[in-house]
């Protein structure tokens, strides 16, 4: 597994949320610190699609213990979670 730059990952994630998640809000409102849960962007169906995307694109399965508001609050925190789970998987 190659190291993924945080800035690149955040950029990819933002693009996914803006262009493919059909979030129901204009793209310019999705920023690294947008509160996705509060905005209603991450409802159950979009959460499922986002998790599937994370699994396919980054080979990361998010375990139940990490499914928290803290980790899924913003694109920025989701990026950190992906990096965290990748580093955990790499160290196994």
């Amino acid at each position: 597994m190659t190291d993924l730059d945080r800035a690149v990952l955040l950029d990819q994630l933002l693009r996914y949320v803006r262009e493919e998640l059909e979030a129901g809000v204009p793209a310019d409102l999705i920023t690294p610190d947008s509160p996705l849960l509060e905005m209603g962007v991450l409802d159950s169906v979009r959460t499922a699609r986002l998790l599937a995307h994370i699994r396919t694109a980054y080979d990361v399965r998010v375990p139940p213990v990490h499914m928290t508001g803290e980790h899924f609050r913003t694109p920025s925190t989701i990026t950190d979670l992906i990096l965290l789970l990748r580093s955990q998987a790499a160290s196994l």
């Binding site: 129901g24 169906v45 213990v65 499914m67 928290t68």
Partner: protein, 483 residues
């Protein structure tokens, strides 16, 4: 007998048995009992008296469960509010409940109210322990008719309304449910619903009555199909209770049917109709799992039940909500479902005491076999993925925005596809926008009440008697009219 004695009794029988586990921490019955007494001392130290309300605005944690037990032991009234509620809505709930104290597990607070985080309460309990601890933790002797908790649901007047239930109301339902499902200390229950929803009453107190364990599903996990299925399997859940939407989500996006049922022996659902095709798929995949369809608004707890059997695989008519349970009487008056009996609420907080049967506003009819069927609502109240929503509360929030003069909100679609659409009449010269209105909603409403679509109109279509014609508005959405 009281709602709090369930944990006290289980702690005396099996102190080492697991009582409650959140995503991170578990508490055995002995530990939960001791924790509840510590919080009890701290609440008393803060001046909380019998009959006071204590609003608990937290994530779904074992600590929050211990606080709830302490509130009940104090003879006070537990008001659980999900963390996902924005501060403005909690403030409205607090304005109605007038709590002596708001307990949190975060730094957010409601202006004008005393808000104290759990860790602070525990520190205060430690100080009290050094002083005079014993009498500080004597449990207040409650009557079965005393109020135990208030659950706030969406209100048609635009403000959340508090459904107040007694110790006896809850125990009548929990006693029946434990017998019906043969719960034992070996069971492991999942708690999918938020603490502020009545489904949680079964998960928590059913488990405590049986000396079983309850496994808390946090608010974010509750929305995540794949990890939810992982949770079901990893925790070896034996009894699951949720809205059908959660099960449909897990089946559609989390391979529930293929990966389950694990240790599951009973799967119970309530809160909205289960789409028949989806239910048949579930039943077909898991013939060995008991499945029950429960019915009852927050105001009555569960008051009817129907057990799904193999015969339902051939069913073409809607799944019945079944027959009365828990000592209740349920009947129809001009097509409306009425409920009387021991599980019916004391009343709305701040309102009149409930006298006689509760009129649900739900429409019903009897099927050929004499079982009750749910037929929809007599008013505008709606369900979106199992969440009870009064469109008037959402419209009230929208009208509070500077660009909106008037608003009507309706639900379009069913099941996972249900969406909230708002029709808004703008203030002169203003142009309301979806993104801005969603941001605005997020300040006043929980995420599940946020509007998915906004349609700007010059006025509302009316029926001959002057009411807003919601059917015509629904038709506009179906035809793809956009803002």
């Amino acid at each position: 007998m009281s709602l709090y004695s369930l944990v006290v009794d289980a702690a005396a029988r099996t102190p080492d048995a697991l009582a409650v586990h959140d995503l991170v921490t578990g508490l055995g019955y002995g530990a939960l009992d001791a924790r509840a007494d510590a919080y009890l001392a701290a609440l008393r130290g803060r001046g909380v008296r019998p009959g006071d309300r204590v609003l608990v605005w937290t994530d779904k944690t074992a600590e929050a469960v211990a606080v709830a037990q302490a509130v009940l032991r104090c003879g006070a009234i537990h008001v659980p509010v999900a963390r996902g509620n924005p501060r403005e809505r909690v403030a409205r709930i607090a304005a109605d409940a007038r709590p002596a104290l708001i307990v949190t597990d975060h730094a957010d607070h409601v202006p004008g109210a005393v808000c104290v985080p759990c860790p602070d309460l525990l520190r205060e309990a430690d100080l009290l322990r050094e002083a005079a601890y014993g009498p500080a933790t004597a449990h207040h002797p409650v009557q079965l008719s005393d109020p135990a908790y208030i659950l706030y649901t969406s209100g048609s007047t635009g403000t959340p309304k508090g459904v107040c239930l007694s110790h006896g109301n809850a125990l009548a339902f929990v006693d029946w449910a434990c017998r019906e499902l043969d719960l034992t200390a070996a069971d492991r229950l999942a708690n999918h619903a938020a603490f502020g929803f009545d489904l949680s009453v079964f998960d928590l107190y059913g488990a405590f009555r049986a000396g079983a364990s309850v496994h808390l599903v946090g608010e974010t996990l509750a929305q995540a199909a794949g990890p939810l299925v992982d949770f079901l399997l990893e925790r070896r859940i034996t009894v699951w209770y949720s809205v059908p939407s959660a099960l449909v989500l897990m089946a559609e996006y989390g391979e529930l049917l293929e990966r389950g049922p694990g240790a599951l022996r009973a799967c119970v659902f309530a809160g909205e109709p289960f789409p028949l095709k989806r239910l048949k798929e579930l039943r077909g995949a898991w013939p060995g799992v008991r499945m029950l369809n429960w019915y009852g608004p927050t105001e009555t707890n569960v008051c009817t039940s129907y057990e799904v059997t193999a015969a339902d695989l051939a069913r073409t008519t809607p799944l019945p909500i079944g027959s009365p349970v828990a000592g209740d009487t349920v009947w129809l008056d001009d097509g409306e479902i009425l409920v009387g009996g021991p599980t019916v609420m004391l009343g709305y907080w701040g309102g009149e005491r409930q006298a006689g049967p509760y009129r649900t506003g739900d429409l019903g009819r009897y099927d050929a076999g004499g079982l009750l069927e749910y037929r929809g609502r007599a008013d505008d109240m709606a369900k979106v993925r199992g969440y009870r929503i009064e469109p008037a509360e959402v419209a009230g929030a929208l009208v509070a925005h500077e660009t909106v003069r008037d608003a009507v909100v309706l639900v379009v679609g069913t099941g996972l596809d249900a969406r909230l659409h708002a029709f808004v009449v703008p203030e002169p010269g203003r142009a309301p926008e979806l993104a801005e209105l969603r941001r605005h909603c997020a300040v006043f409403l929980p995420p599940y009440m946020t509007v998915d679509g906004v349609h700007v109109v010059g006025g509302f279509p009316r029926t001959p008697n002057g009411k807003v014609d919601r059917a015509v508005l629904g038709g506009l959405v179906a035809r793809g009219v956009r803002a």
